[in-house]
């Protein structure tokens, strides 16, 4: 609360700049200043690259990436209603703002992904797909590309039996020029049981195939969130909070210290809905 009160005092000055605004608009304007309005602003506040009014600090400016500035901004970048531990947050901020080894976000180089919850029309029904988007260097600049997809109709379509009772193609089939395939595929809903143990269906390819065949039509985006996987040994999730008050906009909704590579791999599998 003390942090918010301090911020409101600072914002009060800027709100007075507004001309011809009604009183309720002035109150709203203070909240809008406080809101983290763009992902870009999240990056800048996280890194300490802008002033209270949102004007950019550049390399060489006295306050650019100032650790004091960052210690002021970073605690305000959490969703206050998420209920994450205050101690964990403090550890996170302390590590990021360490004077010798500070950690900053890098738009182009960091391991981060956008999870886009989108609606499609598929076989006469509205269905949700999660598109995982990544930035990729291309030509003279960058582009967002679809890295993977989670799509429920595909997930339930593949059910691989890996038990000892599973159907198989016997090991002397080669002597028969694999005539055993005829029986294997006859009336078989699950031909995936004839694939190696390591087989994983490539949902993105299937998704694009259905789209190219005209079976899958984009309707709309419902919401977006972001996952930052390894920022100085931390994972965090970024989500948009559209609500009254000062703790709004793009905020950290989930925070976790990564202990080792195995935990990071498990976390990625979870985020990509591969568990």
């Amino acid at each position: 609360m003390r942090r918010l009160a301090g911020l409101v005092m600072v914002l009060g000055f800027y709100a007075s700049v507004g001309q011809g605004l009604t009183d309720d608009m002035k109150a709203t304007e203070e909240q809008l200043y406080a809101s983290t309005k763009q992902i870009n602003q999240f990056f800048r506040r996280f890194n300490g690259e802008e002033d209270d009014r949102g004007d950019r600090y550049y390399e060489g400016d006295k306050k650019y990436r100032d650790s004091g500035l960052r210690r002021k901004y970073l605690p305000m970048l959490f969703d206050e209603e998420a209920g994450s531990s205050e101690d964990v947050r403090k550890d996170f901020v302390k590590q990021l703002t360490d004077r010798k080894t500070p950690v900053f976000l890098d738009f182009h180089r960091d391991d981060w992904v956008a999870e886009v919850n989108a609606q499609f029309r598929f076989k006469g029904q509205d269905v949700t797909a999660l598109l995982y988007m990544k930035l990729q260097a291309q030509g003279q600049g960058y582009e967002w590309v679809i890295d993977d997809v989670s799509f429920e109709p595909f997930k339930t379509f593949f059910e691989k039996d890996t038990s000892d009772q599973k159907q198989f193609i016997h090991p002397m089939s080669h002597e028969l020029e694999f005539m055993t395939l005829r029986k294997a595929f006859a009336n078989n809903e699950y031909p995936e049981q004839y694939t190696p143990r390591s087989y994983e269906p490539d949902y993105l390819t299937l998704f694009l195939y259905e789209m190219k065949r005209g079976n899958l039509k984009f309707k709309t985006v419902k919401n977006v969130r972001f996952h930052f996987f390894d920022i100085g040994g931390w994972y965090f999730e970024l989500a948009n909070f559209n609500r009254p008050g000062y703790n709004t906009g793009w905020l950290i909704s989930n925070l976790m210290k990564i202990q080792n590579d195995q935990q990071l791999a498990l976390l990625k599998a979870y985020v990509y809905d591969k568990n």
Binding site: V17, G18, Q19, G20, L21, M25, T28, E29, Q31, L32, Y33, S35, K37, Q38, N40, Q41, G54, R56, Y58, F107, Q119, Q138, G139, Q140, G141, Y142, E143, K219, T220, V221, K222, N223, N242, R243, P244, T248
Partner: protein, 190 residues
């Protein structure tokens, strides 16, 4: 008149062409581009207020819509959602203005908060720079029977910064111009 104003601001960017053609935008150049982009966004804000105003004559509204459309790159769209309707509706820019003009209120007041947030410029694969400017609009519509509606909407406006050429006194001069692109309109709870 606006066109001339934009040309004048654009010409001020001429000196930095070589620096700007590199991957990172020089901060001073970026500030000049921001000013130009903000001019266009302010023009758009002004045009929207005029188009929405019920006192505006039909012919005048049509003329302002033409001017407003000129600010945008071809095929730009407005993606609109509200607190009560999560799904985004997509409109061509002209269609959005026409719907605004046709709103069924007797009095409409559109005001703009004194907030604008300008993102960094990122280069896309074809070399064009792209950024986003965020502004906030206050809408109030009232009917003669006393019914009224108010909302605050956030408008995230794409800006494209492109290198162009023009002839001045027989010489080919390169300059950087700004066009607006797709706009995401969301109702805020604030």
């Amino acid at each position: 008149m606006n066109y001339m104003k934009h040309i004048l601001v654009a010409v001020t960017l001429l000196m930095g062409v070589s620096a700007f053609a590199q991957t990172n935008v020089d901060p001073r150049r970026k500030q000049a581009i921001d000013s130009l982009a903000l001019e266009k966004v302010k023009d758009l804000s002004k045009y929207i207020s005029i188009i929405g105003d019920k006192q505006t004559q039909f012919s005048e509204a049509q003329r302002v819509m033409d001017r407003a459309e000129e600010l945008f790159a071809p095929d730009s769209e407005m993606g609109v959602s509200s607190l009560s309707r999560e799904e985004i509706s997509y409109y061509k820019v002209r269609e959005y203005f026409e719907r605004l003009m046709a709103l069924n209120y007797d009095k409409v007041t559109i005001k703009w908060y004194d907030i604008h947030y300008i993102s960094d410029l990122e280069r896309q694969p074809d070399g064009t720079y792209v950024g986003v400017i965020t502004i906030y609009q206050r809408f109030e519509g009232t009917s003669d029977d006393g019914m009224s509606y108010k909302d605050t909407t956030k408008k995230d406006i794409t800006i494209y910064v492109k290198k162009k050429e023009t002839q001045i006194a027989g010489r080919t001069i390169e300059f950087w111009d700004v066009l607006l692109g797709d706009v995401r309109v969301t109702e805020t709870s604030a």
